[in-house]
Each structure stands twice: as C-alpha cells, then as structure tokens.
Amino acid sequence: MLPTEFLGIKLKNPLVLASGILGTSPEILIRMAESGAGAVTMKSIGPVEREGNINPNIVEFDCGLLNAMGLPGPGYKNMAGKMEELKNCPVPLFASIYGSTVQDFVDIVKFLREYRPAAIELDISCPNKDDGLSFSADPETTRQLVSEVRKHSGSIPVIPKLTPNTSSIPLLAEACRKGGADALNAINTASGMVINIEARKPVLKYKKGGVSGPALKPIAVRCVYESYEATGLPIIGTGGVTTGRDAIEMIMAGASLVGIGSALYYRGLDAFRLIAGEMEEWMKNNNIDSLQDITGAAHG
C-alpha cells in the first residue's frame, strides 16, 4: 500500500526523516532507516565547521517544540568519512545543505556529487542563524540560487526547503520552480519565542527559535497546499506530522512524501513504524489502494 516513487526514487513508504532530527551521524541515520523510515535526510551540511548556539537550544511548549540549534556541523570538508559510511544506508539518503553565498552552495554540491545522494535539499529556511533566511528574502534571489545549484548537481535532484516566514509561499515556490527545482520541501520551522515568566527571559539562549511539532501542522498543510497549486512540483510535506491521519492530511494537501521530525519526540523512536501502520489502517478502512489516489485530493 505504502510503497511509492518520488523523482524516480523508489521508497518502501512515504515517510522521510526530516533534516536535523538525529541526522548527525551515519550510525544514527542507518538506525532510523532500520526503524522504518522510507528515506532519511542528513543534518544540513554547511561550508565551514560551526559549533551552533549555546544551550538552551530547545524548549517545549503546550503544543510544540521551539529549537535554535544554530546549524552545528563539521563543515563539508570534514564530511568525507561520514559520506563514505553512508554508502551502506539501506534506504534512499537525502543530503541537506546551507550556505551564506551562492558559491558556498555550489562548493558543497560539487563535494557531494561523488557520493550520489538520492537528492539534495537546500536549507534556505533556517530561522536560527543570522543569515539563515537570506536566500528566501525575495523570489529573484531564490531563483538565482536554485538555478546556479541545479547547474552543478548533474543528475541529482535539487529540493529547496521553504520557510513559512515569508509573505508569499506561492511566489517563493514558483521562484524555486523557475530556478529548476525538481521538487520542494515545505516547510522548515516557523520563527517564534518562548519566555519563562519566572525567569523573565526567553528560554532559548538565541532568544528566538523555530516552532515545530503539532503547532506547526496547519501552517505546513497550508504551505503544501499553496505550493502544489502554484507549481505542481512533487512536495515533501513537513511540519507537525505525528500520526497516520496527519500524514494522510499532508498527502491530500499535495505532498508526495511526508517529513517526520518532532514526532520522534512525541511518539518515540518507533514513530515511523507507528505512523506507517496508522496510514495503512486508514487506507484499508477507506478502501484506498495507493497513495497516488489521494495525493492532492483536497484540491479542486
């Protein structure tokens, strides 16, 4: 029921480990693959080594998580060993990259090419680094970046990851399509803040952070819906999915694959198997044989 195809890549189910959720090491990415993920996304890789923000980096609130990791990572030049180990990943591997300049993105894409990830996500949507959103600031900048990256990625598909922190998702999505994006990921976290009133301070050391988990879901569903209408591109719908019903909702909004992040906290490390099971059960009860039959079903 759940096997699916995305950009010519075969997946046993549409659930993808979202970038930055445990994806720091090959061992853990492989463990997530073995725990039922249809595909796994690596933590975003940057141009240089970065330590990320000082703790607290995460705080929970009533219906979600707020994080500001600040993109810690060893930088692509220190990634050769990890990429080599990831050749043993039993499911399709998506890389994710970020940079401050177009050249940063191009350099990392050139480095990644020889390891042949199934796709490369462009993280132009991180709210937790000072210039994390600069490539989403206006559609023309976004288009130029995507177009430059696409020139260098060869046969590897490029998937820009959209931010909800924008005035117009349709314009941003359309800019990505014009730049040559093969698919879209919608969405990254929404910028937010949590203040502890006893301490009279924002909890996160970075003060603001990105909202994920259940609170993000309606925003993500809307962004997927609008991106689908605007571009018709395949979409990885990410944001607040913690149950099979949530995943079906994302698919009806127009997602071909569904990103799973904070659900690993809410449902535990078995989240993939649980959510896949719930999807199958819903499909059985509603006489749906294949996901293709309901992709974008909420439109029209």
Partner: protein, 260 residues
C-alpha cells in the same frame, strides 16, 4: 513523558563537598531513577546535563566547577533560582551485592543508587588527590588517589580488582572518566562479572532529537546515559570517540583536550 520545559526552582540548601564541588538541594520533588539526569538552566548563561544526586525527598544535584557554566552553578546562593527539566534517560538496574566504582564527579549518581539499596554493597572512589574526594563522610567508602594523599596510592581500578578477588559481586556499577570505565569493563570481563556504566557526551536537547550526544548507534541522552557491558562491547565509539559541539567525531583525547 517529561515535559521539555524548564521550571524555575528555588535553591534550599548548598553544601560544600570539597573546594571545587557543591551539592545543591532544590525546592522540587521528582520521581526519578538513580542514573537518570536533569537539564539545569542558569538563565542568561547556559544549560547543562546533571546527574540526579538524590530524589528521595527534594531533588539534589552535585556540581564540580569545571568550566564557565559549572563554575557559575557553584557560585549560586541559597534562595537563588535555577531552571530544571527532566528526568531524562535510562538509569541503573538495581542489583544488590554490587561494587560501585566512581571517579571524580562520577560519584553523584552512584551515591544516589547506593542510597536506594540497603547495605550489601561496596563503594570505591578514585580522585587525583585528597581534596578532590567527595562524600567522604560515608564511612564505608574505599578511596584511591593518584598521589597517595588518601587511601590507596594509584588507580581505583586496582581496588576494584582486589575487591573482586576477595569476593565476587553480582554486578559492578561505574561512572567517571571514560578511560577508567574502559578499565573497569576489562576487569569485569576478565572476572566474569556484569557491569553497567554511565556515559557522558555533549548534550543539547536531552530528549533524543538533536543528535548531539550520539555514541556509535546509541543516543546517550535517550538510550543511556547508563549502558550495560553487552551494549558497550558492541559500541565501537565507547572508550574511543565522542562528537564535538560541531558534531565532528573526535578521539576522546581530542574531545577532552588532553585532560582525559
């Protein structure tokens, strides 16, 4: 599941254990197992994982001034408030007739475990020198110091070997410098004794989603920090590697800046 949200909590009492270490008693009750940890937030400074020293009555932690944040923890005064979230992770099993081997600031979770058992245990503590030892008001504590200023001169693992030869325990619990724990594991294996060890890795979320604390296939904040000998034997990074703050795989020597 524990909410990942710090609750500001008043400090009721502070006890000086030695010139570098203080035990802080908080105005909070928590249901937790020995070996589990909490995340302690000092607003405006940082947030760090700390083992639960006791949760029998009020929550207690024991902090050693090591760097900027832990130093700030030890400068707090009674009446000040700090943020607490947790408990997190998986604690120790509870097998009587055991030996506990602690090194330095690895003692607090072992003290917690020992207080949850009634007798039938042996406690060993190693430190660089006499004024680095803690909890010495416990009269059954056997000690070893590198310089011989108190107890056995040499490694605490020498004491462990002697104690096992005297009478084989059913299990050994250990927490402390990782190379000490590697040695403890070697000794336990040689004598056919089971063992559990509490690991330390750089932590951010403490709830198993950020991937900062990964060691081999294990997520230390979630699967651990306490692991069994069987798990550690299969973990290629135990005693060898740790991820830096930038998730670069370092040797333990590099990770601890040559201090391990």
């Amino acid at each position: 599941m524990a909410k990942a949200k710090p609750e500001m909590t008043r400090i009721l009492r502070i006890k000086k254990e030695n010139p570098y270490v203080k035990t802080i008693t908080l105005d909070m009750k928590m249901k937790a197992e020995p070996g589990q940890f909490v995340m302690i937030w000092l607003p405006g400074v940082d947030e760090k994982p700390m083992s639960i020293r006791s949760s029998n009555e009020n929550l207690m932690i024991t902090v050693e001034a090591r760097g900027k944040c832990s130093e700030a923890f030890t400068c707090l005064k009674e009446g000040n408030s700090i943020g607490v979230r947790g408990p997190y992770g998986k604690g120790f099993s509870h097998v009587k007739d055991c030996i506990m081997v602690g090194g330095g600031i690895g003692m607090p979770p072992l003290m917690n475990l020992s207080e949850s058992m009634d007798g039938n245990m042996r406690m060993l503590q190693g430190a660089r020198t006499k004024n680095r030892l803690i909890f010495t008001d416990r009269h059954d504590m056997m000690t070893a110091t590198d310089d011989g200023s108190e107890g056995h001169r040499g490694f605490v693992t020498d004491l462990l070997e002697k104690e096992i030869l005297k009478k084989k325990p059913r299990i050994v619990y250990t927490c402390g410098p990782e190379l000490m724990m590697v040695k403890v594991m070697e000794i336990c294996k040689r004598h056919g004794v089971g063992m559990e060890a509490s690991l330390e890795r750089y932590m951010r979320c403490g709830i198993g989603i950020c991937g900062s604390c990964v060691c081999g296939k294990s997520i230390v904040c979630l699967d651990g920090p306490v692991f069994t000998m069987e798990q550690l034997e299969k973990n290629p990074d135990f005693g060898k590697h740790a991820l830096s703050r930038s998730a670069k795989k370092l040797t333990l020597g590099e990770y601890y800046g040559g201090k391990e």
